[in-house]
C-alpha cells in the first residue's frame, strides 16, 4: 500500500509539470496582456517599456516559464500585476472565504444525500422513491447558476428575506453578534445552491449503491439470524453502501479550489472563484497561473485520497 502511494505520487510529478507547461502556454496565448488592461494609459512609451521589462514581459515565453517555475517550486508565485501584492498573500486571503462556502455545503450535501438515498432505496418503487428520484432528476438538469439566479429572485426579491450577494452588508458598522448573524444570512443562499447540485448526484449514487447492497446474500443471512431492521440497515447495509459514495465525495471535494467558481460569480461571494474572474479580466497572469496550478494540485491530491480511502474501507481491494 505504501509503495502504491509512493508510485502514485511519483506519477503525479510529471503530470503537474505537463500541466504547468500547458497552462502557461494557454495563458500567454490570451490576446492582450497586462499592459493593455492594467497599466496606466498615460504612461510614456519609455516608462511603459520599463514596466514591461520589470514584469519580464519582454522575455521569450519559454524563458518566462523557466523563471516562473524556478520560483514556483519553492512556493513563491510572484507578485500580482494588478495589485502588486504577493500572489500567495492574495490567494491566502481569498481561500478561507471559499472554504467557508464549500465545506459546509459539502457536509450538508453529504448528510442529506445519505439520508435521501437510503430512504429512496429502502422504499424502492413507492411514491416516496419516485418523488425523490424525480427531484434529483430536476437537480441534475438545472444548471447551478440558474438555480442561483432563481434562488436570488425568490428569496431576495420576491420574499425579501435574504441578501442576494456579497459576504456582508456594506455601510453598516455592526457589533460582533449582529455581524455574525449578517454573515450567516449572506452565507445561506450560496451554500444551499452549491449543495443542491451535489445532493442530486450523490443521492442517486447512494440509492443505487444501497439497492445493490441490500440484494446481497449476507443481508439475507443477517436478517435470518434475527437482526432487527434498523441495526441491519445501519450496521450491515449502510457501511458497505457508503464506500463508493465516499470516494465520489472525496473526488468532488477535490474541486474545492475551483469548483465554487460559478456560485461565487452569481452571488459575488469574495472567494477564489471571484478572484479568478477578476484576474481573468485583468489578464493578471501570476494569479491565474497560481490558481490553476493550485486547483490541479487539489484535484490530483484528492484523486489519490479517494483511491486510498477506497482501499482502506474495502478490505477486498488491495493495490499492488
Amino acid at each position: 500500500m505504501g509503495r502504491y502511494i509512493i508510485r502514485r505520487l511519483l506519477q503525479a510529478i510529471p503530470l503537474l509539470f505537463l500541466l504547468s507547461v500547458f497552462m502557461f502556454t494557454l495563458i500567454h496565448l490570451m490576446p492582450g496582456g497586462p499592459d493593455q488592461v492594467i497599466f496606466n494609459p498615460h504612461l510614456t512609451p519609455a516608462a511603459r517599456a520599463a514596466m514591461r521589462a520589470r514584469f519580464g514581459l519582454d522575455d521569450p515565453v519559454p524563458i518566462q516559464y523557466l523563471k516562473w517555475l524556478s520560483r514556483a517550486l519553492v512556493g513563491d508565485f510572484g507578485f500580482s500585476f494588478a495589485t502588486n501584492l504577493p500572489v500567495s498573500y492574495i490567494i491566502g486571503q481569498r481561500f478561507p472565504a471559499t472554504l467557508q462556502l464549500f465545506v459546509p455545503a459539502l457536509l450538508l450535501a453529504l448528510v442529506l444525500a445519505l439520508f435521501l438515498g437510503v430512504i429512496s432505496a429502502v422504499r424502492q418503487g413507492t411514491v416516496t422513491d419516485y418523488a425523490l428520484t424525480t427531484v434529483s432528476y430536476f437537480g441534475i438538469a438545472m444548471p447551478v447558476f440558474l438555480f442561483g439566479v432563481f434562488a436570488q429572485y425568490i428569496f431576495g426579491v420576491w420574499l425579501h428575506v435574504l441578501p442576494t450577494s456579497g459576504m456582508q452588508t456594506l455601510g453598516y458598522q455592526l457589533d460582533p453578534f449582529d455581524a455574525f448573524i449578517d454573515h450567516l444570512q449572506h452565507l445561506i443562499l450560496p451554500m444551499c445552491v452549491l449543495s443542491i447540485l451535489f445532493i442530486a448526484g450523490w443521492s442517486r449514487y447512494m440509492r443505487s449503491s444501497m439497492i445493490e447492497v441490500v440484494k446481497q446474500d449476507y443481508m439475507r443471512t443477517a436478517r435470518a439470524k434475527g437482526v432487527g431492521p434498523v441495526r441491519l440497515l445501519i450496521r450491515h447495509a449502510l457501511r458497505n453502501a457508503v464506500i463508493p459514495l465516499i470516494t465520489v465525495v472525496a473526488l468532488d471535494f477535490g474541486t474545492v479550489a475551483g469548483g465554487a467558481t460559478i456560485t461565487e460569480g452569481v452571488f459575488a461571494w469574495p472567494g477564489m472563484g471571484l478572484l479568478f474572474f477578476q484576474s481573468l479580466q485583468a489578464r493578471d497572469y501570476p494569479v491565474l497561473l497560481a490558481m490553476l496550478m493550485i486547483s490541479s494540485v487539489f484535484v490530483i491530491g484528492f484523486n489519490l485520497i479517494a483511491d486510498i480511502l477506497y482501499a482502506v474501507m474495502d478490505p477486498r481491494i488491495r493495490y499492488s
Binding site: 505537463l18 432528476y137 430536476f138 438538469a141 447558476f145 440558474l146 460569480g265 479568478f276 490530483i300
Partner: protein, 316 residues
C-alpha cells in the same frame, strides 16, 4: 415404441411443429428485429416517451416556430413605444418583451436554435474524438494506451470550468462555431474512457479472433466488428452529453464568455435578464425553464435508451 417416443424426443420436423402451433396460437411470437426490440423496450418507459415528445416539440418550436408563428424578428426593437418595453405576456408578445422592446418569444426561438445546434454539434465532435481516442487506446493497449490515457488525465486534472473560461477568453470571438469547438475540445474525456473500457472487453471476443484469422486488418476489426457492438453505451452517453453541453454553453454565455449579447442564445438571454430580475423576472424565467426542460428531456431519453439497450434486463 422406444424410449425416444415416450420422452417425446423425436426429431423436430415441420410436420410435428405445425399442429402444435395451430393448437396454441397465443405462444407464437413474431420474430422482431433487434432495433424493434429496443424500440419496444424504450416505448414502455413513460418518462422517456415524455422526454422524447418534448424534444420533438422543442425542436419544432425553435426551428419551425419563427416561420409558422410569425415571431421571426428577434432583433427588432420597439423603443418608440415605451409601453412595449419590459412588457409581460400579451397576445401579441406571448413571452413579453425585454428592456429595449425585443420580442422575447422570437429570441427564445432563435436562441433555442443556437443553443440546440451548439449542444448537438459539440456532442458530435466530442463523440468522434472520444471514440477515436478510446478505441485506439482500448484495442492496442500497452504503450499507446498509456500515452493516450496520460493525455486524458492531463485534461481531466484541470477544473473544467476554469479551463473553459481561460480558453474562451483566448479563442472565442462570440461565434457559435468557436463555442462548439471549445466545448467539444474538453468534453470528450468521459466518452474516451467509456469506449476504451468497452474495447478492452470486446477485443477478447471470438468474432475478433475469427476476423483476425481470416486476415482482417486492425482498423477494419475495430470499426466494423467491435464498434457496432460497443454502440449502446456510446449512444447513451452521447444523449446525456447533449444536455451537459447545453448547460455548459449557457454557463459560458451567462458569464459573458460564449455567445455575446445581443446575439440570442438561452444563456445570453439569462445574462441580460439577470440585471433586471427585480423588474421583469420573465426575462430570466423563460430561457431558464427552456434550458431546464430541454436538458431534463435529454436526460430522460438517455436513461430510457440505457434501459432499452441493456442486454441484462430480463425481457418484459
Amino acid at each position: 415404441m422406444d424410449i425416444s417416443d415416450q420422452l417425446n424426443l423425436t426429431s423436430t420436423t415441420e410436420e410435428e411443429i405445425e399442429p402444435f402451433l395451430e393448437v396454441t396460437p397465443a405462444l407464437v411470437q413474431k420474430r422482431r428485429s433487434q432495433a424493434r426490440i429496443i424500440f419496444d423496450r424504450f416505448m414502455r418507459n413513460k418518462a422517456a416517451i415524455a422526454g422524447a415528445i418534448f424534444l420533438i416539440l422543442m425542436f419544432a418550436f425553435c426551428f419551425l416556430g419563427p416561420t409558422i408563428t410569425g415571431h421571426n424578428k428577434p432583433d427588432l426593437t420597439h423603443v418608440t413605444n415605451v409601453n412595449d418595453t419590459l412588457a409581460g405576456p400579451s397576445w401579441q408578445y406571448p413571452f413579453g418583451t425585454d428592456d429595449v422592446g425585443r420580442d422575447t418569444m422570437a429570441r427564445a426561438m432563435v436562441g433555442g436554435q443556437t443553443s440546440l445546434i451548439i449542444g448537438l454539434a459539440s456532442m458530435f465532435m466530442a463523440i468522434v474524438f472520444g471514440v477515436g481516442i478510446g478505441s485506439f487506446a482500448g484495442y492496442y493497449g500497452g504503450i499507446i494506451d498509456n500515452i493516450l490515457m496520460r493525455f486524458t488525465d492531463v485534461i481531466l486534472a484541470v477544473p473544467f470550468y476554469l479551463l473553459l473560461f481561460v480558453l474562451s477568453a483566448t479563442f472565442t470571438n462570440g461565434s457559435p462555431l468557436s463555442v462548439i469547438i471549445l466545448i467539444a475540445a474538453f468534453g470528450w474525456t468521459y466518452t474516451a474512457r467509456l469506449v476504451r473500457g468497452e474495447f478492452l472487453a470486446l477485443r477478447e471476443r471470438e468474432y475478433v479472433l475469427a476476423a483476425r484469422t481470416i486476415g482482417a486488418k486492425n482498423l477494419s476489426i475495430m470499426f466494423r466488428h467491435i464498434l457496432p457492438n460497443a454502440a449502446g453505451p456510446i449512444i447513451v452517453s452521447a444523449t446525456l452529453l447533449v444536455g451537459t453541453n447545453i448547460i455548459t454553453e449557457s454557463v459560458l454565455s451567462f458569464f459573458g464568455f460564449g455567445i455575446q449579447p445581443p446575439a440570442a442564445s438561452w444563456g445570453s438571454m439569462i445574462e441580460l435578464g439577470d440585471n433586471m430580475i427585480d423588474v421583469d423576472p420573465w426575462l430570466v424565467f423563460i430561457p431558464g425553464m427552456l434550458i431546464f426542460l430541454t436538458v431534463l428531456s435529454f436526460n430522460l431519453v438517455g436513461d430510457g435508451l440505457r434501459d432499452a439497450l441493456d442486454p441484462y434486463m430480463t425481457e418484459r
